[in-house]
Amino acid sequence: MITVLVFAHLKEKFGQPRLVLEEQELTVSQLRRVLAEQYDLQDNSVMIAVNEEFAEEDEVIRAGDTVALIPPVSGG
């Protein structure tokens, strides 16, 4: 299982601070496909962080990794 942390408007959209996926391993692009198909989230402005670092599209996510969806930031 892979846990995906969500923040800001995504947390409100999903009504919870994390999504739990059944996959044991998938790439960032595959994660985007899962989010589009199963969670109705199709937004390329959302970045994906793996283990607290922005991830490339071909990076492999494994069970146990910390994954987070990062919508465009607005701090400062």
Binding site: F7, A8, H9, E53, G75
Partner: protein, 150 residues
């Protein structure tokens, strides 16, 4: 000192953190909650953050600055939670033997925060509320992440 905190920021403490015998110049930036954006009146703000990653990214900005402007010392504290008008949301302090470097490095820090540190602001207006960063017109990142440097 690179921190995300949920309590008021002590500006003096952040500034003192970077002062030392060979500083010469210290530039501090305070980002505060502004009441008016155009004609729209903000009542209060809420900031949320992915804290461990945001802290790591603030530390990364500190390393970028130390590399680009040798001899500088920097500190960044960002506040999260509910903030009222006039409250400081972020304080950045940079000291340097050279004043030009202190200004430039400080400016670099705030631009980088607004670009890639996972912190989000929700504006509460008289007539509604909205998470900022999610509007149409927001720049998307074609590579899936912000560039390492602008």
């Amino acid at each position: 000192m690179f921190e995300i905190i949920a309590t008021p920021i002590d500006t003096g403490k952040v500034t003192e953190h970077v002062m030392h015998r060979n500083a010469g110049a210290v530039v501090t930036f305070i980002g505060t909650v502004r009441e008016l954006t155009g004609e729209q009146k903000t009542l209060y703000l809420e900031y949320e953050s992915y804290v461990p990653m945001a802290t790591a990214k603030l530390e990364q900005i500190g390393r970028e600055i130390a590399e680009k402007w040798p001899g500088t010392k920097s500190a960044i504290v960002h506040r999260i939670g509910r903030l009222e008008i006039g409250d400081a949301a972020v304080v950045i302090a940079v000291s340097s033997p050279h004043r030009a470097h202190a200004y430039e490095a400080n400016r670099h820090a705030i631009e980088r925060i607004k670009e890639m540190v996972p912190i989000w602001k929700k504006e509460h207006w008289e007539n509604g509320e909205e998470w900022i960063g999610n509007q149409q017109g927001t720049v998307a990142y074609p590579t899936g992440k912000p560039e390492v440097d602008q």
